[in-house]
Symmetry: D2
Subunit: 370 residues, 4 copies
């Protein structure tokens, strides 16, 4: 494996995948890591087609993960990073293989499909030497990190309330009934696990609440239901929150929010200020200070606590935050791993997320999350 | 009493009142109704000072409501409308006096301080001949009415979810401890009744949810608490909602939302479209149609279902919606009252509102509201 | 005439007038001045109908201005303020009559239809004792005044450039051909004078540029043309500007900006900061400071230099700025007139405006305006 | 040279270059074209460092362009595309070398530093077989292309007016005096040619005006000046425009717009509608239709004329439009070149741009541009 230069494989990410190319570009832009191998699909033809599209050599497009880890370990320039971009139920077995092979893991959320699996993964990571990071995308936005740093620095005083919203509309119609592959696995308990909207995007909102406040959700009262007839998994999930310091909160997530593409935002109120962020203007953070004055924090602001490592004009989309996350991840691999489960979400953040949606599927009333 | 020309008295609205001048201007602009009499404060000097500021003749500034109703009844040009702008606990007794005097009533919300009082008021109205309207301000915004009319016309299909938010920040600090009169009565159970934020602004959000959807909230799970130390009444109130057709919802209200002045908005999703409105741009309504196209409805739009009766450039603030409400109210007085509890909130809407905040104060878990 | 209580007449403002009711409400709200007399139209029936709508007694609705000034002078409670809301060509003769009668004047812009007339008016004002103010509406917005005060205080250093835009779309179609009265007189040189769009709204933009910068436009290169076939007056007017300190600028105005209702904004750049304002969010001023930090100035900001005298929630439309202007005007009447042609536009600002559009109609190339 | 797989070299783009990585990522994402060779800087050490950062093999990082073209021509997998990312004065000589070598050219704007050079380039292209495209970035935004297509389809009727604005603030301070390399060459006539702001970003605005309207600017009255003391090249450039169909226009560009990072927008008015776009929300186009209704066109809109080829969530920054441009360019190389100087700017667009800023530097009064 390389010391200064890393090679990456991907599992999942064949044609139709949204996130596969994001991994490739984010790794390249953020950390000069090239995607060089993979098992892009269980369907061999689709996998080979994806390899062509990614510019991965055919001989490094493997029929299965076992073959891949063995072949790559035998190469001088073999991979040392695995990006996991599969449906949720495969996250654990693939991660375990990577740990066994000594390969570092960067995984799409959720960490695993169930809490029991997540605990197995945590133990395996503790016993192995693979670094592990979760691509909670928004945590790569410099202004989300700025918000987190400002809260930690006391800029809004004691947190009193957070409202976090994540709304999509693409499942407002029963696409799974008309052959849409993404819709099909997301609405299928066998492949998604017990959570629908809650596990797919609610978990992002939940993590965002804990990430920016630096506080855990102590208790939650969820209302997660399928609103489109015929579904068994929730496609809409709202919850009242109590944070561990007594603060309140509201979490709103939906995949039946007709007309919304990807509307993520938070409003955070303290006893000495407030912070507002929305993905519509991701490089802007609105800070209400203790005296009532309002500052717009921008990449050009002179007093940022966190500065994005890439020119903001390069993009406001998902590639830049992935690049930030990959940069942190490779820094953690090359260094001592210190930022993991700090600024960079790791297995602890992953466990919180899985607990969030599994609790929704199984709990009633106010659910204890501590 | 006048037939074509009306005269109005006000109870409450002395110096420092925000809403008093709004009543005067809204009545004048909307319905050419002049404020000609009043008991503006229990403090006689403050009341007289207010009369000067309103341009009300000193002899029609009365020491108490009993004197006022008697004196005005004796005049040829006596009042036939009473605007109630007092703290909540006085709404019922003043309204009863007006009914007895045969004077029409336009009242600030909530209708009364308690549900028992509201039921008394309903009976009294049924037995008398006074028209009664509630100034749920937002219901006077033409674009809120447009949203209501579009939903009724099926523009977004079956309602699936509503998110309604009302955030203020003026009580983020314990102003009641430093002599602020408005803060003092709003945080005092003796004068506000059992609801704090829930009764002051949460009730607006609740009514808005029912008003635009045309559906009642069937059940509600609230989380209303004082977040500022030392208070007994809630200053922050959130709730999960189930509408009577099975739709879901989230209500967010707060008076400790540091930095917010008056942030009211809703997002409404159906199975065939969506509607978005915010008071930040009150004469704009965003309509997502069934085919995914998005229209911005503006006062200049060719196909509005509801058209504001006043030039939109005149103002986007609170005076215009008051003018709309006063216009409807005077139309109801001069006509058959048909719009009351239709487009114009009346006692039925008032009862729903009081039930909302009283239920919060007394109920637990999912509370039945049907 | 009253000392502490003023009475106002209006010339113009009959049915269909947009600005008439704004004068009435602005005077009432801002300065407790009642509209009590008027000649609302040359058509006697229309004038009487307007009087009813304004609540003005029929006996004080006069057949002509000469009768009005005579009759009012004879009353103990006669008017001491005249609001001029007529087409432009009547501004001068009516103002002269008011000066002769010793009545104060608050006039719609432009001051007069021609520069020669404006100079006559200036002389008449100097010789008389009437106070005179122009309702350049935007100059009543507290945040525009804040911008002016910040520039004066050096908040953005030396002014380098201003871009000011005023776009309307209501004349994008030849409404004058289909009987629209407002369109008819605005597009008619006999009633509007030599300027079309330039005199109607370009002049607002021009004054705004000088008002907020505190600098005169030294030279201007205009491009004013009718873009709708059949017109002789310009309906679109753009200009390059040089300010007297060497700064540059661009003025954009149009009445054929399809879809725009009333889009007024400025961007002002100095060598140490910038200020941005738009009428879409009129109570917000964006300040870029010398260190690159960005502040949003709001009515709740702790460090405002200028504070609006009316609750911002009352309205963001045109009534509030009129109320501010009326408040200043009545203060000037009751006091020493000090704010006139300072914060409150007077005859000097009026002359600049008339010079602006008359120069456009007559000049070529870079036109000297000093 | 490859048939289905292309290899690209870059000239320029060493450390500190903003645009170099954008070329690499845009080519990769848009057309699966890999950057495999280059002369990234005249400074050999900086060039080699850049090669490492791009992942280009050291042996393909050449000391000069002559060596590069010779060596690459000798390889089986040699380059067939050259990206030009140098200062302006090198655009012509490098392009001529590429044409001689039969390599296709994708160049940063302006095409050349002077109009005489641009004409030489046009002739050389006509005589050779290299395809040529200019990366006018905004022309790669799907919604800008949508605007262009809508205008062509008559959606807003006959064009009457365009306002196009491009504002940056990074040169508001004399950075060139303190060693900033980008500022140094941009403010130096020897390296930038006769245009400063006009050639750097004004030209973008100018091309945007012609691109979306499908009309040439017939005449222009510019005002381009250095506003920061000590400069000889303009850092602020505004112009009045007349389009060839008689429409009017205003072009505003500035690099001393304190606080602006990259504010590009246009408002386009026709006699039957309007179109508005701003880079702040680049995947949104506001369409005012002939009946006054307003549509927001979004990537999810059902009736788009132009559809972006990449998931909009991937990014709203500069990488996506570069990817669109690279996709078109490679399509043109692989096909018949048909989109060049249609949707994809080519040498004709380049000539217009150079003529724009050279005319500003040399002309006076209204300048003929036909």
């Amino acid at each position: 494996m390389g010391q200064t230069r890393h090679g990456m494989a991907m599992v999942g990410g064949a044609a139709g995948s949204f996130i596969g190319p994001v991994h490739q570009l984010g790794a390249k832009l953020g950390a000069q890591v090239d995607l060089v191998a993979g098992v892009f699909s269980a369907d061999r033809d689709r996998s080979l087609a994806a390899a062509v599209s990614y510019g991965v050599a055919a001989e490094r497009c493997y029929p299965d993960t076992a073959t891949m880890f063995a072949a790559e370990a035998a190469r001088d320039d073999g991979i040392d990073i695995l990006a996991i971009a599969t449906p949720n139920h495969l996250h654990l077995p693939v991660a375990i293989e990577a740990i066994t092979a000594g390969v570092h893991i960067i995984s799409d959320k959720p960490a695993t499909a169930t809490l029991a699996e997540a605990e197995i993964l945590r133990e395996a990571l503790a016993a192995g030497r693979s670094r592990y990071a979760l691509t909670y995308t928004y945590s790569g936005y410099p202004m989300v990190r700025e918000a987190r740093a400002r809260v930690a620095a006391g800029a809004i005083g004691t947190v009193r309330k957070i409202v976090v919203t994540y709304a999509q509309g693409w499942l407002a119609r029963p696409l799974e009934a008309s052959g849409n592959a993404r819709a099909a696995w997301r609405t299928d308990p066998a492949r998604s696990g017990p959570g629908g909207c809650s596990a797919d995007i609610g978990v992002h909102a939940f993590h965002l609440a804990e990430y920016v406040t630096g506080l855990r959700v102590a208790a939650m009262l969820p209302d997660a239901r399928p609103l489109v007839p015929g579904r068994t998994l929730d496609d809409d999930c709202n919850a009242l929150l109590h944070l561990e310091n007594g603060a309140g909160g509201v979490l709103i997530s939906s995949q039946v929010a007709f007309g919304e593409r990807n509307a993520l935002s938070f409003q955070l109120y303290g006893d000495g200020g407030a912070l507002h962020w929305t993905i519509d203007a991701p490089d802007r953070l609105r800070l209400v200070r203790g005296d009532g004055s309002v500052a717009l924090l921008l990449p050009t602001s002179p007093d940022l606590l966190v500065r994005g490592r890439f020119a903001p004009t390069l993009g406001q989309g998902i590639i830049m935050p992935f690049a930030e996350i990959y940069r942190d991840f490779v820094d953690a691999i090359d260094g001592d791993g210190g930022r993991i489960d700090g600024v960079l979400p790791g297995i602890e953040a992953g466990l919180r997320g899985v607990r969030f949606f599994e609790s929704i599927a199984t709990g009633t009333g106010w659910i204890d999350l501590l």
